[in-house]
């Protein structure tokens, strides 16, 4: 258990509303990642962080922003949710010893945008 929690676990929202998803870790790992999972697409990286206030874009970052003001929390914000952002969102951490390390995943947040 890598001590990763995500909140909320389920959310239904309407198009055009802002949504923030939270990823919390208890181990103070440096590297954190947000993915979305969609049928037929596998997992795609949205944004990642390599330290407090250090973030960068992944392959599907349009429409998303992130913030990391504390080591333990990595927030993903949909500024104005669209139906195409209906997905399952996973947070992950890398313990930080290198690319050979296993990434550990949270339980996921299921988001439905109506």
């Amino acid at each position: 258990d890598a001590g990763i929690t995500q909140s909320p676990r389920h959310k239904v929202t309407e198009t055009g509303t802002p949504v923030t998803l939270r990823c919390h870790q208890t181990e103070n790992h440096r590297y954190m990642y947000w993915y979305r999972q969609d049928p037929g697409h596998g997992l795609r990286l949205i944004h990642y962080s390599y330290g407090v206030k250090d973030t960068d874009k992944g392959e599907v970052s349009d429409g998303y922003s992130v913030s990391r003001s504390k080591t333990e929390d990595f927030l993903l914000t949909l500024e104005s949710a669209t139906s195409s952002q209906t997905s399952v969102y996973f947070c992950a951490i890398n313990p930080g010893q290198g690319p050979q390390e296993t990434q550990y995943f949270g339980p996921g947040t299921r988001l439905l945008v109506l």
């Binding site: 596998g42 890398n94 390390e101």
Partner: protein, 116 residues
């Protein structure tokens, strides 16, 4: 950039039959290779990974995978599957060096369904 191709989106098999889930990758630099499993309504967990050395890697739950550099493949196998192996399986790669921030690139997944 690197990419991962999982050649089968769905693989149905009968219980106790052998199974192979195929994964090919493309990269201009050296990579580490991973297989993750996702049981229904859960997050992903590591099955096994190849870092270096022996090309045959053993993982949890009786799975193994073989790294083939010449064919850029990392196929996952199990000699006898159980109903409980029903899950989605993801192949992934990470670049071994060079400021990648340890990012993973995933394939699109293979849904393994084990039938009685």
């Amino acid at each position: 950039a690197q990419s991962v191709t999982q050649l089968d989106s769905q693989v149905p098999v009968f219980e106790e039959a052998p199974v192979e889930l195929r994964c090919n990758y493309s990269s201009s630099v050296s990579v580490y290779l991973f297989w993750y499993v996702q049981y229904p309504n859960q997050g992903l967990q590591l099955l096994l990974k190849y870092l270096s050395g022996s090309t045959l890697v053993k993982g949890i739950n009786g799975f193994e995978a073989e790294f083939n550099k010449s064919q850029t493949s990392f196929h996952l196998r199990k000699p006898s599957v159980h109903i409980s192996d029903t899950a989605e399986y993801f192949c992934a790669v990470s670049v071994t060096s060079g400021g990648s921030n340890y990012k993973l690139t995933f394939g699109k997944g293979t849904l393994l369904t084990v039938n009685p």
